[in-house]
């Protein structure tokens, strides 16, 4: 009984991870400029990869795998925001300006 419930929870987490990965890809393609795409790439990618690691921790249930999954999640949660911030800082300093949404609304009307 407990094993069945754990399997259903793991399946739910794994499907959620897939959906987050798909949303990250859609955001990457559809959002208008670099600094908005960064939201989709860093947040969606982090949650997508992190939830698969949660899923393998539930499925395996061994202490060594659970430890490695926690290590992977902590590592991802530390490095993904840092790399996104470094890239945004480099892009701003290199002269890539964020898109001004007010200008778009004015040109549309």
């Amino acid at each position: 009984m407990i094993v069945e419930i754990l399997a259903w929870i793991a399946a739910l987490v794994i499907v959620a991870a897939g959906i987050f990965g798909l949303l990250a890809g859609i955001g990457m393609l559809r959002l208008p400029d670099l600094f908005t795409r960064m939201h989709a790439a860093s947040k969606g990618g982090l949650v997508g990869a992190g939830l698969t690691l949660v899923g393998i921790a539930i499925v395996a249930g061994e202490s060594s795998i659970v430890l490695r999954a926690i290590l992977g999640i902590v590592f991802l949660a530390l490095t993904t925001p840092v790399s996104a911030h470094l890239l945004a800082r480099a892009a701003i300093k290199a002269g890539y300006v964020p898109l001004n949404t007010d200008a778009i609304e004015k040109s549309d009307s």
Binding site: A11, G18, A24, L29, L34, I56, R68, V82, S83
Partner: protein, 95 residues
């Protein structure tokens, strides 16, 4: 439906979704108007690659793949940092 069967189903659904996400990121990598856009697409590809490898580990039962996924995360982080530094240096050299 038994427990292991539902996990296999969930893994295939998630693999399909992540593959589609990877495809969209590759389209952005090809289209991407500027260099930082392409670097961001590469970063997303490595992050989704981690998820892909972990799903393959669940499907095949070779849990050793988790170590490979963590190593891929390390390499992806270092490559993004190096490419961001390159964007900065290139802009400074152009000035």
């Amino acid at each position: 439906m038994s427990g292991s069967e539902i996990i296999v189903w969930a893994c295939w659904v998630a693999l399909g979704c992540i593959s589609l996400g990877l495809l969209l990121a590759i389209i952005r990598l090809i289209l991407g108007p500027t260099l930082p856009d392409r670097i961001l697409a590469l970063d997303l590809i490595t992050t989704l690659g981690i998820g892909f490898i972990v799903l393959v580990a669940i499907l095949t039962g070779y849990y050793l793949y988790v170590d490979i996924a963590i190593a891929l995360g390390l390499v992806g982080f270092l490559s993004t940092v190096a490419l961001a530094r390159y964007v900065l240096k290139r802009a400074e050299a152009r000035r």
